[in-house]
């Protein structure tokens, strides 16, 4: 469990099978190795968390899985398709919510849904029904006619997740979905995500640096540090294996540091985090 096992290159999306397979993935930016030989697999229908401090390589890994970045080495398969050679097939099967708020503030909530319905290729005849479905799933009824820029942080996140559900993704990638939210908004977002998983069986791959969130909502976790996957398993398995009471202690046991002592990401990461905090109020 702690040592990431070699994974079979199978990811066909059948229930119980692996929908995401990452095999010895490496991403380098010049001299910097952002992801250094990471391997893991995500089963259909589970909530899988990538846990680690800023600069651990979580977002870079997700960017490879969503076809935004080409890996330097290794390979990744999402719902049976190679992210490099079959990017379009991958993009048809996934939903992606980046860390920064990607809602267009100059459009209303409903117009944002309409826009993403169009660009994610939802057929015109099904668009209205899909939008209604996403509205109900994420509980957006009360603010559909408000401009994006007037919404609270929690509303924005729920709207954003709703826009990512319109193409009925097999896998939903959520990059720090609750960062910058207050506890109430955070709870509401997770309530909706749990409901989504229960009702639609959507596989969720979530990055987070919040231990409590990872503990409570993820079926399995991969702990990342400095581009490496240092431990993997369910929260209970990880605590048991390292004989420690919390995931924070698991991180310390595997890296020799506390989660707060991470590299902190780049200047751009820090600037983006501040901007995000401002947008979320």
């Amino acid at each position: 469990m702690s040592a990431p096992a070699a994974v079979r290159p199978r990811a066909d999306g059948r229930p119980g099978s692996e929908v995401v397979v990452v095999d010895d993935l490496v991403v380098r930016f010049g001299e910097v190795e952002a992801v250094a030989g990471v391997s893991f697999a995500v089963e259909a229908g589970e909530v899988y968390g990538l846990l680690g401090p800023n600069g651990a390589g979580k977002t870079t890994t997700v960017r490879v899985l969503t076809t935004l970045l080409r890996p330097t080495a290794g390979r990744a398969i999402v719902v049976g398709a190679d992210v490099v050679r079959e990017g379009l097939t991958v993009r048809r099967s996934i939903g992606y919510v980046p860390q920064a708020i990607s809602i267009d503030g100059a459009l209303t909530a409903h117009e944002n849904l309409e826009f993403y319905g169009r660009v994610t290729g939802v057929p015109r005849r099904q668009r209205r029904a899909r939008i209604a479905e996403a509205i109900a799933t994420m509980g957006l009824e009360s603010f559909l006619d408000r401009l994006g820029r007037t919404l609270s942080g929690g509303m924005l996140r729920r709207l954003e997740i709703a826009t990512a559900l319109l193409n009925r993704p097999r896998v939903l990638f959520l990059d720090e979905p609750t960062v910058g939210l207050d506890p109430t908004a955070r709870r509401l977002v997770w309530e909706r995500l749990d409901a989504l998983r229960a009702e639609a069986g959507t596989t969720l791959l979530v990055t987070t640096h919040l231990m409590e969130e990872a503990e409570r909502h993820c079926d399995r976790l991969a702990i990342m540090d400095l581009g490496r996957l240092v431990a993997e398993g369910s929260p209970a398995e990880l605590r048991q294996e390292f004989s420690v009471p919390s995931l924070e202690d698991v991180f310390t046991a595997t890296t020799g540091r506390s989660l707060d002592e991470g590299e902190g990401g780049s200047f751009r990461d820090a600037r983006a985090s501040r901007r995000l905090s401002r947008r979320l109020g």
């Binding site: 930016f29 960017r63 969503t66 076809t67 935004l68 970045l69 379009l88 993009r91 048809r92 996934i94 992606y96 919510v97 980046p98 860390q99 920064a100 708020i101 990607s102 267009d104 100059a106 459009l107 209303t108 117009e111 826009f115 993403y116 169009r118 660009v119 994610t120 290729g121 401009l147 826009t163 193409n167 983006a272 901007r275 947008r279």
Partner: protein, 245 residues
């Protein structure tokens, strides 16, 4: 994306009016001051009318060139990443963005045309002439918007882009036939203007709206506009995803 731009304009229709002020100042202050100058108007009797197509193209150029700023903003707020993770082909995203710029340019051009009609500035008001001029305007705006996206994919910050945007835009504007005919330019400037797509855009619009030509066929103006748009769109489709790095 053209649809989204129309929606945004509906929510913030003051924007199009404020953006129209600058071209109107060019037209009614610069144009009025030099109204009787026949050399600047290539012999045409009213410099304001001669200037009108140039000012419409210039206003659209401003919109298009600073569209790259929107790309950098979209990268910073995550919209770009979202778009690139959708099944839309890269070329469709670039064309969609260019359409958005075209929609804004068309709306602004419509406002200017209404003002021109109300103030009695003598254009040749034919439906095909106006439609043809607007098509040329959209082709040029699309091309410059794609050029702006290419620049945005190479630049990291909005501040840097502002500097580069100015550096590109002002020479494009002044080394073209937007303000004055090529005939009065020195040889070296005329040579630059002849490879500037804005020159062909304005030349074609002037022929369609005023019925005057500085030589060369109208179809060449359309061909240059089409080639410019196609080439920049294809290049932008390749470079645009680099903007997220």
């Amino acid at each position: 994306m053209g649809w989204a731009e129309l929606r945004k304009l509906r929510h913030d229709n003051v924007d199009i009016l404020t953006r129209s002020i600058q071209p109107l100042l060019w037209l009614f202050i610069f144009g009025t001051a030099l109204r009787r100058n026949r050399a600047l108007s290539g012999g045409y009797h009213d410099y304001r009318a001669y200037l009108a197509p140039g000012v419409m193209a210039q206003a659209a150029l401003f919109i298009a060139i600073f569209f790259g700023l929107a790309v950098i903003w979209e990268r910073d707020v995550g919209q770009l990443q979202r778009l690139l993770a959708t099944p839309l082909p890269r070329l469709a995203i670039v064309l969609g963005k260019a359409t958005g710029a075209g929609v804004r340019a068309l709306t602004q051009a419509t406002v200017l045309l209404v003002v021109l009609a109300l103030t009695g500035i003598s254009l040749r008001w034919s439906a095909t002439g106006v439609a043809g001029a607007l098509v040329l305007l959209v082709l040029g705006t699309g091309g410059f918007a794609c050029l702006s996206m290419i620049l945005a994919s190479l630049v990291r910050t909005r501040e840097r882009f502002m500097g580069i945007g100015q550096l590109v835009m002002m020479p494009l504007f002044f080394a073209s036939s937007a303000l004055y005919p090529l005939a009065i330019m020195p040889f070296w400037l005329r040579a630059i203007a002849r490879v500037n797509p804005l020159t062909y855009e304005v030349h074609g619009m002037r022929e369609l709206l005023l019925g005057i030509s500085a030589g060369g066929s109208l179809w060449i103006d359309f061909l240059v506009g089409l080639l410019f748009f196609t080439t920049t769109a294809l290049v932008a489709a390749r470079t645009y995803p680099r903007a997220i790095l």
